[in-house]
Amino acid sequence: MRSSYSYFDHDADIGIIGCGETAEAAFVAAAEAMFAIMTDITTVSDVIRIQVGFEESDLELALVTWLNNLLTEARMEGLIFSRFALQRNETNWRGEARGEPWRAEMERGVEVKGATLTMLSVKQVEAGWEARCVVDV
């Protein structure tokens, strides 16, 4: 299964879907979906790299924690990310994001303030894994 992302409807906000061969790949695709709401991520360079790490045994809560950790890092440092990697060793998650500081000429989408537990699911599908939740904008 090729990694990909898409969106689903929510009355007030936006639902994101990440798909991949593994749960980790689906989480990476979900991160791309989330940051693509904020700008055209194909135009973002990868001059800065940050790392995130957390402990979580619940797969669904891990998705929300991963996404919220990325948002927190981005907002704290005024960054926008476009490339992601994630590895899991049982309950220990280690990931990284690459991107750059916001530039005035970047396309402005809509600010994502957080990933929520609404419509949250991480499941195995026929060809791999699918991770979804609603993000608050």
Partner: protein, 477 residues
């Protein structure tokens, strides 16, 4: 919404009959039949889930602008008694803690500003940081953030943002007690460092509006409003700090609920008893975020005054009122003849105290609290006044906005930002935004008819209409 599941109490109030074996408190939905019929079934599902939470007093309610939210519906109101195991829920407050509207009345008329409207819109746009990736000019060290979290708008006035008279017309006089900055994480504080004095994105806005119609002359006079007058409304909240708190405590409260054996019908309804350590910890952090939002709107009001003074010297902008619509407040309400201390959650609902409430400023006491229903950028907003009737039936609560009728994704399929902005300009409404996507998502057609929402709010007895405000210029995030 499937109307066959509702039972009509009157034309603007509906209940949901229990099904056999269902353990829950009553549910009450306010609104006209067309408004309710147009709502997603998720609204009904979510408010019915809220009615299953422990310690709920009376009914779980939705306002006429309700729509599908996170656990709690947006437009949801629920009051809990701490003495009866009542809970506090982060989802019942919302992520953007204390999001609300500051309304400022000016001494200008539409005739006064028309020649300078373009310059005014541009100056507001370049002065007020708005939208994704934008930071404010003010940068705070963590210790200073703690002062903001303790002091709210009162702190902002002490720093020279605004005037002491503003505080009289802000809920809680600009500062809630019970804030505990130590309960707010370093991440949340760091996230807020560059976000004080910023508008944000999504449905947040700063709007220059004209009073187009007065419904209640007496109340309008007391509120200082007259036809043709220019007012400014600022809609925003506690920015990244509030959201970080909401996000972090959602997990804390979910784990507390599990530890304490509270069965959650929906994970997003994560909650803990008010009297539990986790509940108290969240309440301290939430109050800190309320102060953050009050300070943020106070700074934005100050920046707005500076812009007006530059473009149209000698303009006065007085605070009409500042009211939040994502909160949990401790209030006294009469239930079955007894006054009880309740924790009233209002998620996308405005507090609407009726006449003679002791919390109201002297000027408004005979009329009732100003209530602001913020509409979409192409339609309009309403100023209303709280009613005694609402105190009795809805814990003094009313609608907060038009409420979305269409998802953002659907809106993107219907509209293009540039085209929408051009069309609104032809109608005399200037939009300033850095995000064409954001403009399309916020298209007026993606919202419910604000006129119907305001009418239903009045006819349900939640608040009475005082004035209609038509947008003239809007800075969107």
């Amino acid at each position: 919404m499937d109307m066959s599941r509702l039972s009509k109490i009157d034309d603007y109030c509906w209940s949901v009959p229990s099904v056999p074996g269902e353990q829950r408190s009553p549910v009450r939905l306010y609104g006209s039949e067309p408004l309710l019929a147009s709502m997603d079934d998720k609204v009904l599902e979510q408010i019915t889930n809220v009615a299953k939470l422990p310690g709920l007093v009376g009914a779980a309610m939705t306002m006429p602008d309700a729509h599908w939210g996170y656990g709690f519906p947006i437009g949801g109101v629920a009051a809990f008694d701490p003495e009866q195991g009542g809970i506090i829920s982060a989802g019942g407050v919302g992520f953007d803690i204390s999001c609300g509207i500051r309304c400022l009345r000016t001494n200008l008329t539409l005739t006064d500003i028309t020649p300078q409207l373009e310059s005014l819109a541009d100056a507001l746009f370049y002065t007020i940081p708005a939208g994704v990736g934008e930071e404010g000019q003010l940068k705070f060290a963590p210790a200073q953030i703690d002062e903001v979290l303790m002091g709210g708008a009162e702190w902002a006035v002490r720093q020279g943002y605004g005037v002491p008279e503003d505080l009289e017309y802000i809920e809680e006089r600009g500062r809630v007690t019970g804030a505990v900055p130590e309960n707010v994480s370093d991440h949340a504080k760091k996230r807020q460092r560059g976000e004080m004095g910023t508008l944000g994105s999504g449905n947040h806005y700063l709007e220059v509006q004209v009073v187009e119609h007065i419904y209640d002359q007496q109340a309008a006079q007391v509120f200082g409003l007259s036809e043709g007058q220019i007012v400014v409304s600022i809609h925003c909240g506690s920015r990244g700090l509030g959201h970080q708190i909401g996000t972090e405590y959602l997990v804390t409260l979910a784990k507390a609920a599990s530890r304490l054996g509270i069965t959650l019908p929906d994970r997003e309804l994560a909650c803990a008893p008010i009297q539990s350590p986790e509940g108290q910890e969240y309440i301290g952090a939430m109050n800190a975020a309320i102060n953050c939002a009050l300070a943020n709107r106070q700074i934005l009001a100050h920046l707005t005054r500076e812009v007006f003074d530059r473009i149209i010297p000698n303009t006065t902008l007085e605070t009409l009122f500042d009211v939040s619509h994502n909160t949990c407040k401790v209030e006294r309400h009469k239930v079955d003849g007894k006054t009880r201390l309740l924790y009233v959650h209002r998620k996308g609902a405005t507090r609407a105290f009726g006449p003679n409430h002791p919390a109201l400023p002297e000027r408004y006491r005979a009329i009732g609290q100003p209530v602001i229903i913020g509409g979409s950028m192409g339609t309009g907003s309403y100023v209303l006044a709280g009613t005694a009737e609402s105190e009795n039936q809805a814990y003094s609560s009313a609608s907060h906005g038009a409420g979305r009728a269409m998802s953002r994704h659907q809106a993107l399929r219907h509209w293009r930002g540039r085209q929408l902005i051009d069309e609104l300009a032809e109608r005399g409404i200037l939009i300033r935004t850095r995000s064409m996507r954001g403009a399309a998502e916020e298209a007026p057609g993606a919202y419910k008819d604000v006129d119907l929402v305001a009418e239903a709010t009045e006819k349900a007895g939640l608040a009475r209409r005082v004035a209609f405000l038509r947008p003239k210029a809007c800075v969107k995030g």
